[in-house]
């Protein structure tokens, strides 16, 4: 019990109400920008431009994640050892994402090159089925 009290009193209580509202505004604005990009992207047909838009959205997502972790979860106000303990292991994600997405893409290319049947199957256009509410349970089970 005495331990609890000592930690409580030495803990840094950074983060005022003003900071909370600032972060709220930043998060809302970022979300609105993301959604605006999403709406704008619907009208774009060029794959390269769409890819660029997706890149921007992913960067905005990371900025939002930073604000939530740093301010709402208070990590920015902890001491550096604590920040490092959490952030450094998460750096593994950089490798995970690059390696796995590269591998997925490579698998697609290999299959398209060497499995022409699979490739031709994936190019057949299908008629769009109308969604019927009554049929739902049949398809679901």
């Amino acid at each position: 019990m005495s331990n609890l009290h000592t930690t409580e009193h030495t803990e840094q209580h950074g983060g005022s109400t003003k900071e909370i509202w600032n972060v709220t505004i930043i998060l809302s604005v970022l979300t609105i920008v993301e959604l605006a990009l999403g709406f704008w992207m619907m009208k774009i047909t060029s794959d390269a431009t769409r890819f660029g838009f997706k890149g921007i959205i992913v960067i905005l997502m990371l900025v939002k994640a930073f604000y939530i972790v740093a301010y709402f979860m208070h990590l920015k106000h902890e001491i550096k050892n604590m920040i490092m303990t959490i952030v450094v292991p998460l750096a593994l994600f950089i490798w995970f994402i690059i390696a796995f997405l590269y591998d997925g893409n490579s698998y697609k290319n290999l299959r398209n090159n060497y499995d022409s049947f699979k490739k031709s199957q994936s190019e057949i256009k299908v008629e769009k089925k109308e969604a019927a509410h009554g049929e739902s349970h049949k398809t679901a089970e």
Partner: protein
């Protein structure tokens, strides 16, 4: 001599001043959240890998385009509402933690109630969306949607969607339950007697993590 101060051969940290200057429970909550981040990360990276290895993928704007009471043809609208509900609930949770620092019981209670209400609202939205998709014929192992280029789609899309949003929804549900427990403990003066509201901070960390995961899930499934 300095060596005489270490009487026993100590292998574990025996307590005393926290090396991280924060309470033990909070450190452990951070470690748990880190492991949970790896679980969600594994799910999302697996989803990305399968999506990168597929020749076609459904367009989220065609799949998620309904709003309760307003019909269909409204892509992104409903999910925007869900996103804002979760952001607002995160803000009220910060305010509850903030009130806890000032030992302001009334502030904690009010903000916790708001957080619980918004959390429940988010769960309600998700329940509606799942029901709607299920009525359209989508479920684990069933995908009525076509790829964006008009070719037949595999069930990977719905499998990943229901698994990942379901796992996230279960976290939201746990968060709401934890917040209700916190509310009851605040109302029964448990924290008042303890002299501090540190428990609210741990619940808050968990709740913000749930919001954080939604930022990623929302981007990966609905936006890109």
């Amino acid at each position: 001599m300095a060596t005489t101060t270490v009487a026993v051969n100590q292998k574990m940290w025996g307590g005393g001043k926290s090396p991280f200057n924060i309470e033990y429970g909070k450190v452990m909550m951070w470690y748990f959240l880190m492991s949970d981040a790896f679980t969600f990360g594994a799910f999302l990276i697996s989803y990305g890998t399968i999506r990168f290895s597929s020749n076609g993928w459904p367009d989220p704007n065609e799949v998620f385009q309904s709003f309760p009471g307003l019909g269909s043809g409204l892509p992104l609208m409903f999910v925007s509402l869900m996103t804002f509900i979760l952001i607002v609930s995160s803000v009220t949770m910060v305010l509850a933690v903030h009130a806890g620092h000032n030992n302001d019981k009334k502030g904690v209670v009010n903000n916790l109630i708001l957080t619980i209400v918004f959390g429940a609202a988010f769960l309600g939205c998700q329940a509606w969306e799942w029901t709607h998709l299920h009525h359209e014929g989508a479920w684990w192992g069933a995908n009525p949607f076509l790829n964006a280029d008009g070719t037949a789609s595999s069930t990977n899309f719905t499998n990943y969607f229901f698994t990942i949003t379901g796992f996230h929804g279960f976290h939201v549900l746990s968060g709401v339950v934890i917040n209700i427990v916190m509310l009851i403990m605040t109302l029964t003066d448990t924290f008042e007697k303890r002299g501090h509201y540190l428990m609210i901070e741990k619940a808050g960390l968990y709740w913000h993590f749930v919001d954080l995961v939604w930022v990623f899930v929302f981007t990966c499934f609905y936006l890109i």
